[in-house]
């Protein structure tokens, strides 16, 4: 019996999963480990994707669960490390434009301050362009919870970004 087409799955989903995981972990090595875990899981259980309607949502759920487990394992011991990492690694592409660079740096910091649950919803809504229904499905949470987490998260980002946003507008 042949396993799932891992190459196709990787080419279609690994990029967005990478950005999502990087936004949650703020650590490139952890992101790589988690991404590999997702694909190892797919390889190990050949029937995992059987009956799955939305591959992306399913893979996001796998990745999110793995990331949450990792964050819990880290616990308070590594909180400082996470804050450090937030300053070093950003989920956004580097740019030569100084204004954009500043904005992305502040945005990355503001995102890092959000609780992981809100950060996950904000990421999926803004950069994955998922609907609240898809987000609720992917993260296994009620629709209203997804919407409220997004609203709270966006409010915090707005407050944090207001000064810089007004400046570069």
């Amino acid at each position: 019996m042949r396993g799932p087409d891992l190459r196709r799955l990787y080419d279609e989903h690994a990029g967005p999963l990478y950005a999502f995981l990087l936004n949650l972990t703020r650590d490139e090595a952890d992101t790589r480990d988690l991404l590999q875990d997702v694909f190892v899981k797919l390889a190990r259980d050949e029937d995992l994707l059987n009956g799955v309607r939305d591959e992306r949502a399913f893979l996001v759920r796998l990745a999110h669960n793995a990331a949450i487990d990792l964050i819990r394992r880290r616990g308070t011991r590594d909180k400082t490390r996470e804050q450090f990492a937030a300053e070093i690694i950003s989920p956004f592409a580097p740019t030569s434009d100084p204004d954009e660079r500043t904005f992305r740096t502040v945005l990355a910091g503001a995102l890092a301050e959000l609780p992981p649950d809100q950060r996950a919803v904000v990421h999926l809504k803004l950069w994955e362009r998922l609907t609240f229904e898809q987000i609720a499905d992917a993260l296994d949470i009620p629709l209203n919870t997804a919407a409220s987490r997004y609203r709270y998260g966006l409010d915090k980002l707005r407050e944090r970004l207001r000064p810089i946003y007004e400046e570069i507008k």
Binding site: L6, A14, A19, L35, F39, P94, R129, L157, L161, Y165
Partner: protein
């Protein structure tokens, strides 16, 4: 700052790209696990087992095999205990002649105390014949 403006501004921020060298590393690690898994399943004789049986045992065939082994052990111990029971009875020593004599003496004494077996109360009650009260007084005064 309008909410829509902020959302659009944020959405326009491009995300970091996944490092290209990860592709082969991750895929080869995943494929290695997948191949090993398939080999193990093949070695466990999945091909010889009916599909429904293998799906029943999966994903923890080792745990099921362990459970089966424990049951076999329990049954084996149970059977061995059953075999030993009659042997134990056979092997027990017969009572000594002194004990037999003592028992017979006790039996005799008991018989003497109780009396002959044919004088049961039940039999006596059968021999009682009711009589008129006047006749009974005659017997008493006689």
């Amino acid at each position: 700052m309008k909410p829509e403006d902020l959302e659009q501004k944020l959405q326009r921020q491009p995300l970091r790209q996944i490092p290209g060298e990860w592709r082969e590393e991750i895929l080869s690690a995943a494929n290695k696990v997948g191949t090993a898994r398939r080999a193990v399943r093949g070695r466990l004789g999945e091909a010889s087992l009916p599909n429904w049986f293998s799906s029943l045992l999966w994903p923890h065939p080792a745990a099921w095999a362990g459970l089966a082994a424990v049951w076999i052990l329990i049954l084996a111990v149970d059977f061995s205990m059953r075999d030993q029971a009659p042997v134990t009875a056979e092997k027990s020593a017969p009572p000594s002649p002194e004990v037999i004599v003592e028992l017979k003496q006790q039996q005799r004494m008991l018989a003497e105390l109780i009396g002959p077996r044919d004088e049961h109360d039940a039999d006596r009650s059968k021999s009682f014949v009711p009589q008129p009260r006047s006749e009974r007084t005659e017997i008493l005064t006689a």
